[in-house]
């Protein structure tokens, strides 16, 4: 079973978690002045990369907190997890850290 390192609880089995989509997607500050295209981009369009993906997870059957996770979509390897609210990390740094 995949072990996911919750930033609060440590390594836990994946069945305790729920996936919650791509991370660091900011809601437009003023939706009433946002064009249909921009709003559609915000609502529906995701990066869907082959490789490193920054995504939200929730440790629902544990501490119940949302957190962010950097996962390789090819190997399913999780390179880093960090509490929600922290700034988006630099992916190049994460790759470097992982190969050390």
């Amino acid at each position: 079973m995949l072990l996911i390192p919750c930033p609060h609880c440590g390594n836990r089995p994946e069945l305790e978690f729920r996936y919650a989509g791509e991370a660091h997607i900011a809601r437009p500050a003023d939706p009433s002045t946002t064009s249909d295209q921009e709003w559609a981009e915000y609502l529906y369009f995701r990066s869907n990369p082959k490789g490193l993906h920054i995504e939200r997870w929730r440790h629902v059957s544990g501490c119940a907190r949302f957190f962010n996770c950097v996962r390789d979509t090819v190997s399913d390897k999780i390179l880093k997890t960090y509490p929600a609210g922290q700034p988006k990390p630099d992916l190049a740094d994460i790759v470097k850290e992982a190969h050390q």
Binding site: R12, E16, S61, G62, A64
Partner: protein, 187 residues
């Protein structure tokens, strides 16, 4: 007007006892007062004064004193357990200690129920549906966490080397109890 009366019924009524001689005993715990408390660390330390037990700051910990227990479930969430019938008194004491600080205190006495799993094979029996490593070196006495047993959310708290307190929603009892009973035949 009808004279209907609400009778309290145990969630464990009519279930087969689970007992394997010399290996494991699963026993319901008495009714209890329970609260879900949420707030920041400042609110938690104020709540500790009203509750009478220090709410642990560290995650995955349980603190007990004088029949009361506080379990930290998340960075700002605690489960408070006290003897039955103390809802009003505790609520008043905690609200007074908090003095209108931002927090949430919810009575979940009747939503949750609990049982203990004890005996030399307690770890083995729980491992039938629990995914965590329950060895005492990894899951020591005094550690507690929310996790899952099969598909049901439980709060697992190790009260002694061979005893676990399992806290769960009362509607999950027949499901969890049935699986434990099944697993107990294989011990």
């Amino acid at each position: 007007m009808s004279d209907s009366k609400i009778t309290r019924r145990s969630a464990f009524e009519g279930l087969h006892p689970i007992q394997v001689e010399g290996a494991v005993t699963v026993a319901p715990t008495p009714y209890a007062t329970r609260f879900s408390f949420r707030g920041d660390s400042k609110a938690a330390s104020a709540c500790s004064k009203g509750f009478g037990v220090m709410l642990p700051n560290a995650l995955l910990k349980a603190e007990s004193d004088n029949g009361r227990t506080a379990i930290s479930l998340g960075p700002d969430e605690w489960l408070l357990i006290a003897p039955d019938g103390e809802v009003e008194a505790l609520e008043a004491a905690i609200e007074k200690a908090l003095d209108k600080q931002h927090h949430s205190l919810v009575d979940i006495s009747h939503r949750n129920t609990a049982f203990t799993v004890s005996g030399p094979k307690a770890e083995t029996l729980l491992a039938s549906g629990c995914l965590l490593d329950l060895h005492v070196s990894v899951f020591p006495v005094g550690m507690a966490t929310r996790t899952i047993y099969s598909k049901a959310d439980i709060v697992l708290w190790r009260t002694a080397a061979d005893t676990f307190h399992v806290e769960l929603w009362r509607s999950f009892v027949p499901f969890v109890w049935g699986l434990l009973e099944e697993a107990s035949h294989e011990l």
